[in-house]
Point group: C4
């Protein structure tokens, strides 16, 4: 790898962001109907290669059903407002009506002060099943051990264990520290885990037995992790590195672990470039928060925004780019790539001559100047 000297005896790799790359056409093109966007992870096959971000401004049980119908995979935050309140709809609707970010922040903070209720978690999972959708939900590493029984009993289909930075080796004095490897191996439910950003961290996460890893540690468009902690990783580089870990893990074990890009992807171009770097699928957060009737109206936030002593994210305003359906698969009249995301991906693959998402991973990229 290209190492750049920072100073005498200290060097760093040059990282590349998605904004710095572009896709280069090959010598072949194809018709749009000769492009296949489907994705299969574990037993689950979906028409479009995306998960929703497990954020309360993106996914509700009801939205999970709509996403399922559109061909994606909705992931609910199982520690969020739907796990803390019998019916948070009215409270979210109130927030959606607010013009002032301070008021919105205060109201949301209060919502997250309520405790997580396992019975509600069970109820949410059942509601997703009832809506005919896969039930996928997200829990943090700290809480996952204590919630495991609840999740199993409720027959969660897919578990996402997520945090800003997740490792397979956590140093703690606490008695109940999660042994991620043991936990994932013993769980019957398939697990996606992350975020991570490097070859080694990803490889260790893959060795836990996870079905997929989330790549990206910057937390997307509402996060401020970089300013607060100095931690960051240019996404194109992270995806490519984790793809290399996927190849090694496949070589060692015969198991293909999915690489899922997670970090502020907004446009069809972003998605195509993330896949070309090596992703099998993507997480959409802000892109779906910016839709008509989103849970928080135009407000978008992550749970780290409400940390009591050190928030690493904010409540941000995102104007809608259309209905959920329009943003996912069109049609749209928007010209900036923020709607009809998978129509755009299909268009991109047709122009590049690729038939499947897997083939797109071999696309040629160019570093754009400037």
């Amino acid at each position: 790898m290209a190492e750049i000297d920072i100073g005498l005896g200290k060097s760093a790799r040059q990282g590349i962001t998605l904004d710095q790359v572009a896709l280069v056409p090959s010598r072949r093109t194809r018709d749009l109907d000769k492009v296949d966007l489907s994705w299969q992870i574990d037993a689950y096959r979906v028409d479009l290669p995306f998960l929703t971000s497990p954020m309360d401004s993106v996914t509700t049980p009801e939205r999970a059903g709509e996403v399922d119908a559109l061909g994606g995979l909705g992931v609910l935050d199982l520690e969020g407002v739907w796990a803390r309140h019998e019916d948070p709809s009215a409270a979210l609707a109130e927030v959606a009506e607010m013009d002032d970010v301070e008021m919105a922040r205060a109201r949301l903070r209060a919502l997250y002060d309520a405790p997580v209720n396992h019975d509600l978690v069970t109820e949410r999972i059942k509601a997703m099943h009832a809506a005919g959708a896969y039930a996928a939900g997200s829990v943090s590493p700290k809480r996952v051990a204590s919630m495991a029984d609840t999740l199993l009993r409720a027959e969660l289909d897919l578990l996402v264990i997520s945090g800003t930075v997740i490792s397979a080796e956590h140093v703690s004095d606490a008695d109940d520290t999660l042994n991620l490897k043991q936990f994932v191996r013993e769980l019957e439910t398939p697990v996606i885990v992350g975020g991570c950003a490097s070859y080694r961290a990803a490889l260790h996460l893959m060795r836990t037995g996870a079905a997929g890893v989330l790549v990206g540690i910057d937390g997307g468009r509402s996060a401020t992790t970089g300013s607060v902690t100095g931690i960051g990783s240019p996404l194109a580089t992270s995806i490519a590195d984790v793809r290399a870990a996927r190849m090694r893990h496949l070589d060692e074990t015969g198991v293909y672990v999915h690489v899922i890009a997670d970090g502020g992807l907004r446009s069809g171009g972003d998605i195509a470039k993330a896949i070309a770097c090596g992703a099998d699928s993507v997480v959409l957060g802000s892109a779906l928060a910016a839709t008509d009737g989103a849970p928080g109206g135009e407000w978008h936030w992550g749970r780290t925004a409400f940390h009591p002593t050190l928030p690493q994210g904010d409540v941000v305003r995102l104007p809608s780019a259309g209905t959920l359906a329009e943003v996912v698969s069109g049609p749209t009249e928007r010209t900036d790539g923020k709607a009809n995301l998978f129509g755009a991906l299909r268009q991109s693959m047709a122009a590049l001559g690729f038939e499947t998402v897997k083939e797109l991973q071999s696309a040629e990229l160019v570093i754009t100047g400037g």
Copy 2:
């Protein structure tokens, strides 16, 4: 070529844009009248090395005649409003008067809803001939096969087959898919084809028997292809690569295929730099839309702006930089290089000591800092 690691096992070339380069003077200078700007492609010789962009906001049959008189080559969109309406002048004049982009977009969308009429195509070609100009027109790959007879019968002088990304090998189930190689070989009319952006894609287009290839896939100043699809290619790099394909094709076949830079060139400096990278000629779109009495007034658009489900371009506003004559060959009082484009090219070549456009292709470039 310099490859930059994106991550482990994935690299990309460093692409360079025209904005990143500048021309370096040599040890020689020359008088302005010792500079020759003429260009010859196939049987056609013009005084100035440019084509107009086949966009309805740039080229009308009447404007094609004016461009011819100024020394350039006007190219009409043979699927545009002039191929769909008996006389679109009044409708365009209406659009030109509009202040609101939404209204302009709606009015234009309606204009493109009318079907293409082969009789009108014939009429336009004859009108260009009648005006004493070369008749050059542009058609998309999808439609070119069905229009071939019409074009031949109307004695089109030069055919431009153009799309965002064109390849010599298109995958399709449709029965009437264009076999570009066979089509170009059999057609008596000389063909220019593109856009393309890479050595291999260009080489395959050259092998179809085309007289010239268009380099550039970003679609110019009104396009949003990059955001929508992630596809892009820094123009300086694309031109240089396609020039390398021209050299190989010349070595293999003895046939010199012209490299024509097409991508948002606005100033005299842009044109000079495109040629120094290897172009024989340039396409001017927004540069000529920004003239007094342009077909759409200050509005500029490409046909992709009106795609029903996924537009890849917008209707943008461009204030005029002068009359068509002033913008092409001056005189001007403007100081930003957006008028007297070929006076500026002449000035540049004089200061650099080059006599012909071909010589300018060997100019020394420097990557400018920052």
Copy 3:
């Protein structure tokens, strides 16, 4: 080291700023309470690895005590307003109330016109002792020889000899030119000296017997040294180079000299990245001037702003980011990393898996794109 050609026969190293790097997670994480932030220099051990900048808009005798209580090391400017006026509080309060920068500048200029009074210096040192804090103070190279007796008699605990650029070898005709090496060797008080920015300059400063060196010559957020003199040094590179000097000096002498990053650090991320480049500790100036009740209210300035013929800094406005305690160690509701600086450092180290500040110096960095 990577040398970049400027032109034929002249090259330069590529320098890297802190803004260009980010910290990369490893395969391990740890709990926040398994992180140790303490720092020891000479006989002095503090809970948090920072000094205050010896600027009158940052440190007063009273603030030094508060900083001590919070776990840091307060450094008073012993040539500033507290060394020139019996009680400058009222005057500073006046400045704090001013809205107009010209008025603030004029009032401050007048304050610095009064002479330095050694009795006041003695009094300030005793006041810091009385407040139970370490007494640390800063003097310029020009004045330090003449003040040495005063400082010794008042039992200053730690002396900072500071200027924009300090060298161990100063060329002068003046009879009383400071021989830095002799001075530091003979002084009983431990000395920190700087700024410096390169391996050789730092090595020579270390050889004077200093306990620590300040790295950074740009003077922080209120300075304009770069525009005025052209002198500058990207901080990540400077810190790494001086760390290399520390290693050589340790190898030659067995003495560990502390590397202290000094140059406009504002956020928790800045601090973490400076340490990862090789710093043992940091100087906080503007970060602490931007607190409730700061000495100059929202105004921040360095003494170079009042140079009679060539100012190299300005009086700038910094809105408060919270109380001093909140900015240093939280809690905060701010999401931009400008408060709870050391909570953020702790969070960063936990996410990166490091137990001590020393370990963080081995963190992997990535150059961020763009």
Copy 4:
């Protein structure tokens, strides 16, 4: 030299601008009074290493005298308004009073329509002599042959032959084309010639027998050469390259030709960095146009702004940074480096430990990040 691939078979050098570099302190510093700024070219010795730009918004006969008194070398445009009008003072004062750029441009255009009068040229040279200053003046290559007798008879001390790009080998059919080599060799007056930007162009200019060459082809802050012609050259690279030509020419001939940086230098830092790249001296244009009572008030322009068919510069507004004396040698209260330019240079050299301008040419530079 580092070559960067633009594309297959076409590469370019990476150029560096002054903004991208900073000066790195060495291990030595010195007192301000141990710094010597003087400069000698041919028989002329001045206290400060600068020429004024031969622009009517910078230099008048009267200002040339003031500059002489301040220690610099004033250069009058001998084809400008002072060579065309008996007394242009009133007209310039009118322009200075105008608020509207169009009006200013029109008034100036009219002033340059008057013919050059050799008697007035003679008078201006004598006036400079009478004011006790060196008489230095600038003429374009086209006109210099016909003016040579006038200049000699009037006993011009120093002749500057200047244009945007000057070469030693000009291709022309005109009978009276200047043979620069023959002309300079035969002229008794020492000649400075330029602009140029490359090793070879500079070497050929040096071989004409010139005493100095001007480096820089972008024409400073009022020029738009880059947009118009695409020609440009990052100044740090150009200066370093021409310094290499100076070394070769010195080796071949024993003659030291001065390298004079000319291109929009505004601050003390700019001057110090230009010298560190290899310049012996600098041309100051906009820096001196931005002074109280400048000839055009706050308006600044070059003669290329009034080209009848293709202007390559504009009339721009520059607010004053102080009196001429304050801008050149202070004192100042400005903190941005745009006044007390040579006090700043002295300060820079003291902090870097250099005694003479010649020594500063060996300073270490760093490429600053970003």
